[in-house]
Subunit: 345 residues, 2 copies
């Protein structure tokens, strides 16, 4: 982002009629928004949450507490408006766009009815514990789909994006992506997802370890990592982030799965990280490592571990608040507040 | 609050179409709201931030970085709509009510114009380093004023309140109140307020120590503590909280000064704490002790230290999100999501 606008924003924020720095993270966020949008009055009024859905062949290894049938059932719940992401996005004033990136079910009725967007790459990935999750071409297709979704929404006027995910089993590829890039051992990046037992957790870590050994993803080739141990919705999320960065639009990154997409985006285009806002610290065990790899500080810490974009939606109001702070507050001078002779300084 | 409704709410929340517990603090908050309002569809749509203003005789001891003239200047800024609380409340969908509890300036023009509410107890407190900050009658008057404000707003339909403060020097009485109730030494409860130097910080702690020694507030008599080392706006905040609890309305407690009011409310009526929601962890040094005394966990941690009710306004959207989670989400059964044969559990 523009260092010139960062500097301009900081100089302006220091003049606001508040004790210097007393709005904490809102000021850092306001500076980031100003630098992204290249204005001291960044608008984030038009908001969209993009919830990317996909299935994972690796669930055959018994890595999740839920069966894969739940992925299309939850997509139907999103469409019905009864899911967490629906009600939280409503509070945030954001529209929800559900994208079929690779659900292992026929969703053509929902697509035809205009209820979801279809960029289906395939009916679920292959089992990464036995070979690559997808072909290199499919990985590129997933990334390009996300870029295309961001492009369309931004052309329609969206000023703030948030990413979200739905896909039974998708903490497993997310953990594998983190391990591939960071070099951390499987146990360090593996968590309980939707709520698995100790025994299943051990099996999940072993499965991730096996997937890494069999596929040997090249950490210097993010498309290779996505293809070998990723997921269609994770590639889509990475694409949304890249598209947002290309168009100079801030993008709120939800929890663990979205952060895996963000990590892919960062590896593909390091400057994209300047456009990312980490929504929250997830309860998912490996998320702290993910955020450290991204170099991002999360806004919220509410012990969430749901996905869908729920943390992203919750964080959107904080982002809007930061935009209002820089765009609408008065300075000491404008407000006629005169702390000119501060005592004790 | 009603234990029966707490139980009903928890039972219902466990049926939502999410992995159990995966919405973290939102679920605890939803349970609290349901128990307070005695319904599984608690509404917090009509919101108000009450920003209580007052001045403090103890500023004569040189405890603040700002001169007391800033208090009425900031009240004027609130009225002009250019302050942080105005823009953050707008994002939260909350109205801001500014109350003159004891500003050391004539604000009758703003009162006559209907811009602020007047419950002025006096033109600032007396210097607590030399004697009681106010009389016992004034302390009761301040508390009753707050109760009256809450009563009026709730009768007008407000369903969620947040407290806020404005008053140069008001971290000093807040710290003194904390010390009086907790027995902690002055240095442990004293922070930098609007941003004082090391030297002024030492002077501030000494001033608090002196005020406690001279006045000997009785920790078993909260009105005595308020009278001897409190402030008019702090008493008003305590009253707002008591009024909210009386009417079974949730109240979001902002940062350090609001927590001092909350501590008074808790000491006066221990059950009132069930109606409180701690908005955020303030940067002000003693706030962690304040929250521990209250037994509350803050929702946000954004390094705020401004007051005005800013953290309260920011937290309101989280509270509304929690209300929507319990009021509008579908259960597994309603949504037709069938995780009946969860693997690994």
């Amino acid at each position: 982002v523009s260092m010139e606008w960062r500097q301009k924003a900081r100089t302006y924020l220091d003049k606001l009629a508040i004790p210097r720095g007393s709005l904490g993270e809102l000021l850092n966020l306001a500076e980031q928004l100003a630098a992204i949008r290249e204005t001291l009055e960044p608008s984030v009024r038009h908001k969209a949450v993009v919830t990317m859905a996909g299935d994972h062949g690796v669930v055959a290894e018994g890595v999740s507490a839920f069966p894969p049938e739940v992925t299309p059932q939850m997509v139907a719940n999103f469409v019905a408006g009864g899911a967490a992401i629906n009600v939280l996005a409503e509070v945030a004033g954001a529209r929800v766009y559900v994208v079929d990136m690779g659900v292992a079910a026929d969703l053509t009725d929902l697509v035809a009815a205009g209820k979801i967007l279809s960029y289906k790459v395939d009916y679920g990935t292959r089992n990464m514990a036995k070979g690559p999750a997808m072909s290199r071409e499919q990985a590129v297709q997933a990334l390009e789909a996300g870029i295309d979704v961001a492009d369309k929404l931004i052309r329609e006027g969206v000023e703030l994006l948030a990413t979200g995910d739905m896909g039974i089993g998708n903490t497993t590829p997310s953990s594998a992506i983190l391990a591939a890039f960071s070099g951390l051992p499987a146990e360090e990046v593996t968590g309980r997802g939707t709520g698995i037992t100790d025994e299943v957790l051990k099996n999940k870590a072993r499965t991730i370890q096996r997937a890494l050994e069999i596929n040997r993803p090249d950490p210097n080739d993010p498309v290779d990592v996505l293809a070998k141990v990723g997921g269609f919705e994770i590639g889509g999320i990475a694409g949304v982030i890249l598209g947002a960065a290309y168009h100079k639009i801030p993008v709120v990154v939800d929890g663990f799965i979205s952060s895996a997409g963000a990590l892919l985006a960062k590896k593909l285009a390091p400057a994209s990280v300047d456009y990312m806002i980490a929504a929250h610290q997830s309860m998912e065990y490996g998320h702290r490592h993910m955020l450290r790899e991204l170099g991002l500080q999360p806004l919220l810490n509410l012990n969430l571990r749901l996905g869908e974009g729920t943390g992203g939606a919750l964080a959107m109001n904080i982002v809007e608040s930061a935009a209002q702070v820089i765009g609408k507050m008065l300075t000491f001078e404008d407000a006629g507040v005169t702390p000119d002779a501060p005592r004790g300084e």
